[in-house]
């Protein structure tokens, strides 16, 4: 891998680092379009018939909020990073509904960082990715790992 190919390697995500991942205003049109394709439940599909559900109106599919977060992540850092994918997420919480017109701010915080024990050229980073609405309420919180190539394979990060 060309060492100058990417802006961000594993070393560039120290524990405690915070990063904004953009904002997105969810429109009724896109909430319904996503739901028609992937999550055809009444409270995601139609404002009229969503009114007499538990949610009292149209809300975005939780998966929709996740993929918009993913897009924000790609634009904020992932597309310019030496990321090799993710083994998964430890937790994903849909804390509050996202409604048409809500403007959601996405952000990332580095929780843990460690070199791969089996591959000296790789490192693992655990993030908290969350999303906050206009009222300052957290609507989504995800914790998971991403795998990155290291700028200096095998170097001891403790400097010993």
């Amino acid at each position: 891998m060309d060492p100058l190919e990417f802006d961000f390697y594993w070393e560039d995500f120290p524990v405690g680092q915070m990063r904004a991942m953009g904002r997105h205003r969810f429109t009724e049109e896109e909430i319904v379009a996503f739901a028609r394709q992937y999550d055809r439940q009444r409270f995601h599909l139609d404002a009229e018939s969503a009114r007499d559900t538990l949610f009292g109106g149209l809300i975005a599919s939780g998966w929709h909020t996740c993929v918009v977060a993913m897009r924000g992540m790609c634009d904020a850092y992932l597309s310019r990073s030496a990321c090799l994918g993710s083994p998964g997420l430890d937790s994903l919480k849909w804390l509050k509904p996202v409604r048409p017109g809500d403007e959601i701010a996405f952000r990332a915080k580095v929780l843990e960082s460690r070199p791969s024990s089996s591959k000296p050229e790789l490192g693992l980073t655990k993030f908290l990715w969350d999303a906050v609405n206009d009222a300052g309420e957290q609507v989504l919180a995800m914790e998971g790992w991403q795998l990155f190539a290291r700028r200096e394979p095998g170097a001891d990060p403790s400097g010993q």
Binding site: V67, G88, L89, D90, L95
Partner: protein
Amino acid sequence: MSTPGTLYWEDFTPGEVVEIGRHTFTEEEIIAFAVQFDPQPFHTDPVAARGTFYGGLIASGWHTCAVGMRLMVQSYIGRAASAGSPGVENIRWLGPVRPGDTIAYRRVILETRPSGSRPGMGLVRSRSEALNQHGETVMTMEGWGMFRRRPAP
């Protein structure tokens, strides 16, 4: 009064295995999803993907999740008294999904309990599994769904 044909919380039994359905992922849809939501080269560009860790195009893990959701709604959530989900745990993308792969989804009911805070509701915890045509597990997750309880007759 309960609605005939509707699945209520009481209709979910721990240990029950539900075959959700299957889906063949095409190159075209893998790219279309990724261009919109997960534009990394190994999800969007078959040529560039060859030079990556994965050696070829693979579906976004979110795409595998979203298709699973669609099939779950078709299979049973669409006729259930569903009240959404507080979240999922332990999403594991265990193996890549490549163009032409047929993925079979199934769901195992792990436990059920009445909601502590909402009297008319119950919670169902289940594990979802996605397997490819070679029988390899490509994704698993565990999650809670909330359902209305069957109204008294």
